[in-house]
Each structure stands twice: as structure tokens, then as C-alpha cells.
């Protein structure tokens, strides 16, 4: 099978999470999951004629029924995606990338997830994987922030499921005061410092570059090492298989060698992302 030729899938359900984020449920035409993946991996979704782009797979591999993608409206293809209705066929190819080391480096560790905005999408896959294999991991702390309450992706799942899982602590924050909000208000980097997490934890972080920058500085202040912190990257991609050349940073291709990097690995790369 040619890597660049995609398979047809059906979008069976579209769920509006926030004003600009929708979650799409994807199945093959005969009702199966398109392929097996590791948490943190990505896939190339495409609307023929509009374009093709890389999205992180939001659903956990432990979900055997369907695959989900949470997608924020921010460009040409994503605007089209936001217009589709259930039943629409799309194309997909993948899975691409390395994913998080859930079966090796992360096993048995206390995990701290830090996400901002749509940055929760790739982490949700890992969080649900860890919840479903609860015994394999230590405590799970989730710090998640967004602009407002309405912008919290998967709010219902967070409240109904994550918060009710033993050993999982969820800390939510929003940028500005809101009447309907009685939780924490403030930016993620400051909230992380306030919470002062145990420095033995392993951190998985994803969010806007500015959040990453300040949170990383904050974590280091608290005593975290680069080798404890993982993030997942985004660059322009076309082929997904490390050949077309555009996601090249140093000797790495984000689509093939990433998108998950440990910060000490990122330090080795030229600062061009």
C-alpha cells in the first residue's frame, strides 16, 4: 500500500466543544477504527480538493470503537472541516509520529499534565490511556487552562469522568474572571507555580508556544529537569513520513521523529520551531 494514498473514512459524529473547537468521530465505512495508534500520534486528515493536514489523534487507543479528533478552526482546511455534517466521507492516512512513551519511560511514574487551550487534544489521548490502565501509573495531575470557561475543550468529560477517577486530580483555570466560573482564575504558568507540584513527577505539556515558554521556565525554577518534561510539536507537514522536508528541524523530522520530544532532546536542535 502506498503511504501517500489515503483511505476513506466517515465522520459519524461532530460535537461542538467550544465556539471554535469541534470534535470529529471517525470510522471506516464498515464501522471500524481506521488503524491502531499509540497515544500522541497523529494522522493526516483530508477533504479532497481542500487540502490535507496533520492532526493529533485525540481519542485513546483503549477506545476500540472509534477514533476522535478535536480540531480548532484556524485555517483553510479546518474551516471546511467545521462545516461538515455527520455522514461526510473524508480521507485519512497514518498513524504518524512516535507518540508518548506510555509503555516505557512513563510507566509507573506520577504524571503531571499541563495543557492550554486546544493543547489538551493530544494529551487527552494519553490521559484516557492512563485512566484506562490506571494500575500502570502513579497519581495523575492535570492542570488545564483556557481563555474562558466556554473554551475548555472536553469540559463534560473532564467533570464527569476525569474528576471521578481515583488518583486523578484536575486543576482548571481560566484567563479572566467570569460570572459562571467559581474555579481558579489566572494563566497556566502562574497556576503551575502556585500549585507547586512534586518535582518527582514527569511532565507532559502541550499548549501555545508562549505558555510553553513560561511554564517551562517556571518548572525549572521549581527544580524540574529537562529530561522530565515532554511536549508535542507542530510544524507544517505534507507527507507525514519524513520525506517532503518541511518539518525538518536539525536532523529531525517532526512528523517521523516527533511530534513528541523531551526538552533535553529539543535543546539539541536548532531553535527553529
Amino acid at each position: 500500500m502506498e503511504a501517500l494514498i489515503p483511505q476513506v473514512v466517515v465522520c459519524t459524529d461532530v460535537r461542538r466543544d467550544t465556539p471554535d473547537v469541534k470534535t470529529f468521530r471517525i470510522l471506516t465505512p464498515d464501522g471500524k477504527k481506521p488503524f491502531v495508534n499509540i497515544p500522541g500520534q497523529c494522522a493526516m486528515l483530508s477533504i479532497p480538493g481542500v487540502g490535507e493536514a496533520m492532526f493529533s489523534i485525540t481519542s485513546s487507543p483503549t477506545n476500540k470503537e472509534y477514533m476522535e479528533f478535536s480540531i480548532k478552526k484556524c485555517g483553510c482546511l479546518t474551516e471546511w472541516l467545521h462545516m461538515i455534517e455527520p455522514g461526510q466521507q473524508l480521507t485519512i492516512r497514518g498513524p504518524y509520529g512516535n507518540g508518548f512513551p506510555v509503555d516505557t519511560a512513563l510507566k509507573g511514574k506520577d504524571l503531571l499534565f499541563i495543557a492550554g487551550g486546544i493543547g489538551l487534544a493530544p494529551l487527552r489521548s494519553v490521559i484516557n490511556y492512563c485512566r484506562d490502565n490506571r494500575a500502570d501509573y502513579g497519581t495523575i495531575d492535570i492542570i488545564y487552562g483556557s481563555r474562558s470557561k466556554d473554551d475548555l475543550v472536553d469540559y463534560k468529560e473532564i467533570i464527569d469522568e476525569w474528576m471521578n477517577t481515583p488518583g486523578v486530580n484536575v486543576h482548571l483555570t481560566i484567563d479572566r474572571e467570569q460570572e459562571v466560573w467559581d474555579g481558579h482564575v489566572g494563566f497556566v504558568p502562574n497556576y503551575v507555580k502556585e500549585l507547586n507540584p512534586d518535582i518527582k513527577k514527569t511532565v507532559l505539556m502541550c499548549g501555545p508556544p508562549i505558555m510553553i515558554k513560561f511554564t517551562l521556565a517556571g518548572l525549572k525554577e521549581l527544580g524540574f529537569e529537562d529530561t522530565q518534561i515532554y511536549t508535542t510539536m507542530e510544524l507544517r507537514m505534507k507527507c507525514g513520513i519524513g520525506k517532503c522536508g518541511r518539518c525538518n528541524i536539525g536532523a529531525k523530522y517532526v512528523c517521523k521523529d516527533g511530534p513528541v520530544f523531551r526538552f533535553d532532546q529539543l535543546d539539541e536542535l536548532p531553535n527553529e520551531y
Binding site: G49, R236, K243, G250
Partner: protein
């Protein structure tokens, strides 16, 4: 070793062309381009063709598949062209090496079937460079233009051409042509003469010292990049004439009765190459220019056991509108030491 008289080249090419598709370097508007062989084509073997031989395996435009979209349904049709066996005549040592560079990319997992199919259908007849030019520096990368390799090697020695099979495929190919034996001595003389010229080339003293895998930190933040890239126009000439540049774009074209997905050459020199809705990791020509050379001299060797992704063919030296090139970059970056 087989040998023919120079005058007999035309009938030899005709004999090859009668059986298979044959491409030969031929005159075209002052250029030498690989051209399908036909009666009346003016074969020109005087210098390396202006456009590299990578097109045969990685053409500028290639159909990936077609989509039929009807209401909410999508059909995928693999409409790639079927390849037939073909022969490329007169490929030089540098371009042959470039196939190895491209193989490392396209034939690594997952294998690119489009590329592989073309490779499998090809037979490469190479030609030793009797007259390397001032822009040639293949020796820098350990390439011997007097021993070009490929499936069959050819030498222009005096009033005859000598051929030698390198691979089994080449052996079978030459056997088909029923040529006369001979030419061994002439080839040795020819090689000796080439080596003599090689030593005298203006760029013969260029080395790869200071470049290679692991040199990112030393070179990436060199302040020289700013001046080196200052007059770069951001066109794609260097990348398109380069035999090893392999970046591509995948695009959809709405034909009115289906969507044609195709891939085409792309260039890291273009500003839209890395542009995302979220931002631009290489915002100015400096970063784009640096990427091209860092990739050839550092990143690629790091991933491929020290093999450089430049073969010293010198096309970018000749073709850059503003006379920027990899030799200048290498020399300038090394000056500090």
C-alpha cells in the same frame, strides 16, 4: 570492456532506442537537456546536462491519486502512470551519486512506491567526465568522475567509446547489443588524463572539513549567514537544478470532474514552504537559506552515516541568478577557524 568507434554512436543509440525508451543529453536552446531519443536529436556529450537526472525518478509533477467526490461520499482511485523500462544515457558520476542520496530518502521505510517503481525500470549508462569544469567539485565529496558507476560505464577515449558493465543488469544490456571487445588500454589512458585535469580544477582543494553530522551547534548561529543570504532572491532555481534536493509539496487540483492529488517539487527557499496558520518557523530568507545548506552539509550526513547531500555537480554555481552557491557558503563558514 567493449568498444565502438565514435561514428557508430548514432547507430548504437538507435539500436538501444528501438528496444526501450532512451533518454540522451541533447542540445536545446543552448542548454543540454536529457531528451527522448529520436531521429534528428542532436546528442551532445560535451558537458554535464543542465538539468539533473533526478527527474527520471522524482519528476517535477507526479500524480498521486484521484478522488471522485459525490455528495458526501469520496472514492480514491490510484491513477499513477505505469512505467516501462527506460535507459538514460550519459549520466555523470555526480548524478549517479545523487541517486544514492535520493534512495536514502525515498527507499527508507515507508518506501515511496512511485520512486521505487521508476528506479526498478531504469538502466543507467554513465559517462566519465573527460572535461570537468570550473564549477565541478565532486571530488570534495569523494566522487570520482573518472569512475562514474551506474549499470554501465562509458568512456569517451579518442576516436572511440568504451563500455563496461557494472551490474548484472548492465551486463545483460551490453550482451544484447553484441559489441566488439576491447578498449581497456584506451580507458586507462582516458582515466589518467581525467585525473590530471581533476588535480588542476580551481575547486579541487575544497574539502568537507568542518561539516558533517553533529556540527549543528558550531554552524547554525554563525553570524556569516546574514551576509551570505543577503542577496538571495528566494527563487527556487538552486533547489530545482540540484540533483539531490528532494523536498516536495502535495496539492489538490480540482479538474471539474474529480480532484487530482499530485506532488510537485517544492523549495525550502520559498516563504510558503513552512508557513502555517499558526506562524512561520523560518520567517526570513536568512533562515530559509541556512536551512538548505545546513541540511545538505550537516543534517543529512547526521542521518545517513556521513553521506553529504551535495554531489558537487556545480549546477547551482552556474544557475543562481545572483551567484550564491554552496561553495561560497562552505568557504565563508570555514574562514573563522
Amino acid at each position: 570492456m567493449y568498444s565502438i568507434k565514435k561514428e557508430a554512436l548514432g547507430s548504437l543509440l538507435a539500436a538501444i532506442g528501438a528496444k526501450r525508451k532512451l533518454y540522451v543529453p541533447a542540445d536545446n536552446a543552448g542548454l543540454i537537456l536529457f531528451t527522448p531519443y529520436a531521429d534528428g536529436v542532436s546528442v551532445n556529450l560535451s558537458r554535464n546536462p543542465d538539468v539533473s537526472a533526478k527527474d527520471f525518478f522524482f519528476p517535477q509533477v507526479e500524480n498521486i491519486c484521484r478522488f471522485k467526490v459525490c455528495g458526501k461520499t469520496v472514492d480514491v482511485i490510484d491513477n499513477r502512470e505505469k512505467n516501462e523500462d527506460f535507459v538514460v544515457f550519459g549520466v555523470r558520476a555526480c548524478d549517479v551519486k545523487s541517486f544514492e542520496v535520493l534512495d536514502n530518502v525515498f527507499l527508507s521505510e515507508p518506501v515511496d512506491g512511485y520512486y521505487k517503481d521508476r528506479r526498478d525500470h531504469s538502466l543507467i549508462v554513465t559517462l566519465a567526465c573527460s572535461k570537468p569544469l570550473e564549477t565541478c567539485f565532486c571530488g570534495t565529496f569523494g566522487i570520482d568522475c573518472a569512475a562514474p558507476g551506474g549499470d554501465v560505464e562509458a568512456y569517451a577515449c579518442g576516436d572511440s567509446y568504451a563500455f563496461r558493465a557494472i551490474t548484472e543488469k548492465g551486463e545483460a544490456f551490453l550482451a544484447e547489443l553484441s559489441l566488439e571487445n576491447g578498449g581497456d588500454e584506451a580507458v586507462e589512458a582516458c582515466k589518467a588524463k581525467i585525473n590530471e585535469i581533476k588535480a588542476k580544477l580551481p575547486l579541487s582543494d575544497l574539502t568537507t572539513e568542518g561539516f558533517g553530522g553533529g556540527k549543528t551547534k558550531d554552524l547554525f548561529n554563525n553570524p556569516k549567514w546574514a551576509e551570505l543570504s543577503a542577496s538571495c532572491l528566494g527563487c527556487g532555481t538552486c533547489t530545482f537544478v540540484c540533483p539531490t534536493c528532494q523536498c516536495y509539496d502535495i496539492r489538490d487540483f480540482d479538474t471539474g470532474n474529480g480532484i487530482q492529488r499530485y506532488r510537485c517539487w517544492d523549495s525550502c527557499m520559498y516563504r510558503d514552504f513552512t508557513k502555517m496558520s499558526a506562524g512561520q518557523p523560518r520567517p526570513s530568507q536568512l533562515e530559509r537559506f541556512r536551512q538548505r545548506f545546513m541540511h545538505k552539509l550537516v543534517y543529512y550526513p547526521e542521518n545517513n552515516n556521513g553521506l553529504f547531500s551535495c554531489v558537487g555537480c556545480g549546477r547551482c554555481l552556474r544557475k543562481c541568478p545572483q551567484s550564491l552557491n554552496i561553495v561560497k557558503v562552505m568557504k565563508a563558514l570555514r574562514e573563522d577557524d
